[in-house]
């Protein structure tokens, strides 16, 4: 996991916290651990994300929870966030040798500084640290990158690293979870940073799972409802992300809001990888997700949503009804981690990852219902991938992560483009960028985003050639 910039590192912290909680709660075979165990076996499940030095393993094969390290490379171009990471609750998780901090000045919210300047200065050091981390892996499958698009480090330097990963490790999948900026983002240059980053993501990522702050904030509010039973999750603690920088709503309340929002993204990421780490009736690996969700090479932007967002009292619902509610919530506008479009989108592919006490028939009957309600592309009427993982998430006995590739992304991408155009047309702040790159490069990034929007719109319009219409609803039992 590469976490770049302030946003990337804060989400990363939350993700590692949650992942560790999961593995301390459940062993690799799905059985529950006692909460008093201070030493654990680093089983196969855990070692997909965590490692330890051989010298820390005692004779009985266990290792102290203090000696477990995350397979992570935290990166930032200034020291503040990384310092708090290495001094906070999770300090033992991160290997100090793998953290990279550039000089103390940061990127000034400038993509070009991140990509070009630090890209040159710090890239080889970063790749060295990545190499160390990958050498500790028996079988490397995926890089996960966490960053925001609006700032300078996460967007600029993050995409430079992504490009290098694509060059050096072409066969390893690159999953990216970027935070799209809000309409009223306080970073003035965020449209430039975003469009420039998008150009890179389109070229070098295998799968992009964007989230946006507005939607996360709304979900965080919904999840704070009084019914939320925090008592149900005894070992879970929300870690403090550390001092929030003054450039982003610096008061304490803002810090807590970000903590909840980061937790939602962390929850999406842990559910995404649950089937790789824990056993289940129908396993789903990240490479399978790429195959299923990306029907055309450029259409790799995926909506995600997690249910339940609020733990309401489910005591009276039957297990099947609970699953139906999860499906209903996950496909509603309010649970999407990226703002859903105003129009009804066309769905190209969907992936439903269920955790916990879910039966096969619950899953298949709900998928059948979805086929009737969603507007599916005619060439993809069975475009569903189902995963069933037996081990539940920490705080809920059943949960659902839905990942969908649909044409609604056009709206989010167009919004970013429109904000870009407003600035670019008057050449506002452009000189900060042209110091480091040519205007043509900026235009190229814009064109890539435009052609991506066009590809999505065209894909939504594909009709089957006449004479090839087949009765999709005829199911033979």
């Amino acid at each position: 996991c590469l976490q770049v910039g302030q946003c990337g590192n804060q989400i990363g912290c939350k993700f590692w916290d949650l992942a560790l909680q999961e593995h301390l709660m459940y062993r690799g075979d799905g059985t529950v651990r006692k909460s008093t165990e201070k030493r654990v076996h680093l089983d196969d499940a855990m070692s997909s994300f965590f490692r330890t030095d051989a010298r820390n393993i005692s004779d009985d094969g266990t290792v102290s929870t203090q000696n477990i390290k995350a397979r992570a490379v935290p990166i930032d171009m200034e020291e503040g966030v990384l310092e708090s990471l290495l001094q906070g609750n999770l300090k033992t998780l991160f290997d100090k040798r793998h953290c990279i901090a550039g000089d103390t000045s940061g990127c000034g919210n400038n993509w070009a500084v991140g990509h070009m300047v630090y890209g040159q200065q710090c890239l080889s050091e970063v790749m060295e640290k990545v190499r160390h981390t990958t050498e500790d892996c028996d079988s490397l499958q995926t890089f996960l990158m966490l960053h925001s698009l609006g700032g300078g480090t996460g967007s600029g330097f993050g995409t430079r690293v992504l490009q290098e990963l694509a060059d050096e490790y072409p066969s390893i999948y690159r999953f990216v979870s970027p935070v799209f900026p809000q309409e009223n983002d306080d970073v003035v240059t965020s449209p430039y940073n975003s469009v420039l980053s998008l150009g890179q993501l389109i070229d070098h990522a295998d799968c992009v799972l964007p989230v946006d702050n507005q939607q996360l904030a709304d979900i965080a509010v919904l999840s704070q409802s009084p019914q939320r039973g925090q008592k149900d999750s005894p070992s879970y603690q929300i870690s403090q992300p550390g001092q929030v920088k003054s450039s982003r709503s610096g008061d304490r309340k803002g810090g807590e809001a970000f903590a909840s929002m980061n937790y939602i993204v962390a929850s999406m990421l842990t559910n995404l990888t649950a089937s790789m780490r824990f056993p289940g009736q129908l396993n789903v690996d990240l490479n399978e997700l790429t195959t299923n969700l990306v029907p055309f090479p450029s259409l790799k932007f995926i909506y995600s949503s997690v249910a339940p967002i609020a733990l309401s009292k489910h005591g009276c619902s039957s297990a099947s009804r609970r699953v139906t509610e999860l499906f209903r919530d996950a496909f509603s506008r309010k649970c999407q981690l990226l703002t859903a479009p105003e129009f009804k989108p066309t769905y190209f592919a969907s992936c439903i990852l269920l955790r916990g006490d879910v039966s096969l028939s619950d899953a298949t009957s709900n998928v059948e219902k979805l086929r009737q309600t969603l507007s599916l592309a005619p060439w993809s009427t069975e475009g569903f991938k189902v995963g069933l993982c037996s081990v539940p998430a920490c705080e809920s006995p059943v949960s659902l992560l839905s990942l969908t590739n649909n044409s609604g992304i056009v709206q989010s991408l167009s919004n970013i483009q429109n904000r870009f155009v407003k600035l670019y047309n008057v050449q506002a702040h452009l000189h900060h960028y042209t110091e480091y790159l040519e205007q043509e490069e900026i235009q190229e990034a814009y064109m890539k985003t435009s052609s991506l929007i066009e590809s999505y719109e065209q894909a939504a319009k594909i009709k089957l050639p006449d004479g090839m219409r087949h009765s999709n609803s005829k199911l033979l039992f």
Binding site: D29, E288, W379, S380, F384, P465
Partner: protein, 401 residues
């Protein structure tokens, strides 16, 4: 006479494990030496277990095989040999990745493992391949194994239990994977026993709702895997025995000879009904399977035929219901009676036509093809597969009139 089982992918291994658990419990219950020798061998277990399964476990990620081995270990009755293939990462639900990358990478090791099992037995009755065709490993690696085994064992019957994915959608690339696998099954297997996830779930629901009148049925994969294994033990894997005329009844050879005598028509579907009454059972099977080219009905247990006094009720005879090429086999075993029909039926066409049509649509739009091209598959290969499957559809069509 022994049967070697090759179980590929998550589905194949889960079904295989259910099968070996059932077989070992039959052995423990009935002390049946023949079943033991057929599916297991003794020695080399130490105190961990009594016998080892004649089985080659193949998967491109470790979790499922480890879980099966762990469950067997806890039972302390039988065990699995440790597989030599230890891969991580799976097959990405991509037939081309499974066949071209994983298959070729592990091909030699898999060959060695299968060869070891074949040589270990005194005499081989047949090889059974357990897999699904919708995913990546069962379909891609399964096709690779089928092709290579046919190459170095040209005369041993190969019978497959091939699980088709849910028709509503289980994997987005399922149609490509299914089509490509079917073309290999039609080319290299002797008999392909099709299992459709959708039908299995609806049958399981019916069975469950008959028992639990008001509650909603919650069917799990273990339920449908057990249903597959039940019908396997009750019909496909009948015991070898010497018949009254001195002939040795060899189920695998018999299955192939009787049910798939025409190499162009290799697909078998399984229908079953649990009823004590003969007429009810026969008529229900007829309702499920309207036309059958070649059939075997296996009766497990005792069925009540209508008594002579009810002369208005004719005894439904399999010959009249399913045509002259229908055999009856009876297993006099205690327990709830059940009847299973193995049928070579033209209605299997649907399972060939559906993926062909869907793939044609998807290729016309260019959907997902880049994933397959990345791993060495070209449009031309897909078209070849469509031709093979198309020919089988035509062969079944001509026989259905």
């Amino acid at each position: 006479m022994s049967i070697v089982t090759v179980q590929v992918g998550q589905c194949g291994n889960q079904v295989g494990h259910a099968l070996f658990e059932r077989l070992s419990s039959e052995i423990e219950q009935n002390d049946d030496r023949t079943v033991l020798d057929r599916f297991f061998y003794e020695g080399q277990t130490g105190r961990a277990a009594k016998y080892t399964a004649r089985c080659v476990m193949v998967d491109m990620e470790p979790k499922v095989i480890e879980s099966c081995r762990e469950q067997a270990k806890q039972g302390k009755v039988f065990q699995y040999r440790k597989p030599k293939i230890q891969k991580q990462g799976g097959s990405a639900n991509n037939w081309a990745f499974g066949y071209n990358i994983q298959g070729i990478c592990c091909g030699e090791t898999i060959h060695e493992e299968i060869q070891t099992e074949l040589e270990r037995a005194d005499a081989i009755e047949g090889i059974q391949l357990l897999h699904s065709v919708g995913g990546g490993t069962g379909s891609g690696v399964g096709s690779f194994i089928l092709e290579t085994v046919r190459d170095y064992c040209p005369s041993i019957p190969i019978v497959t239990q091939s699980v088709l994915p849910f028709q509503a959608g289980e994997v987005a690339t399922q149609h490509y994977n299914t089509l490509l696998s079917l073309s290999y099954l039609l080319k290299f297997a002797d008999t392909v026993i099709l299992r459709d996830n959708s039908s299995l779930v609806s049958e399981a629901k019916k069975k469950d709702s008959a028992v639990k009148a008001n509650q909603q049925s919650r069917i799990q994969f273990t339920d449908i895997n057990n249903a597959i294994v039940d019908s396997m033990c009750e019909s496909c894997l009948l015991p070898t025995r010497t018949l009254s005329n001195g002939r040795v009844f060899k189920p695998c050879h018999d299955l192939v000879d009787h049910l798939t005598p025409d190499p162009r028509l290799k697909l078998i579907k399984v229908f079953s009904v649990k009823s004590e009454r003969w007429n009810v059972a026969m008529n229900d099977l007829k309702r499920q399977c309207k036309t059958s080219l070649f059939s075997t009905i296996t009766i497990h247990g005792e069925l009540q035929k209508p008594t002579a006094s009810l002369s208005r009720v004719e005894v439904s005879s399999p010959d009249t219901l399913f045509g002259p090429r229908c055999r009856q086999l009876v297993q006099k075993i205690s327990g709830p009676p059940s009847s299973t029909l193995l049928s070579n039926t033209p209605s299997s066409r649907f399972h060939l036509e559906n993926p062909t049509n869907k793939v044609r649509d998807m290729i016309a739009c260019g959907a997902y093809i880049h994933h397959f091209e990345r791993y060495g598959l070209e449009k031309h290969d897909v078209e070849c597969a469509m031709n093979i499957v198309g020919q089988a559809i035509k062969d079944y069509e001509t026989r259905s009139v």
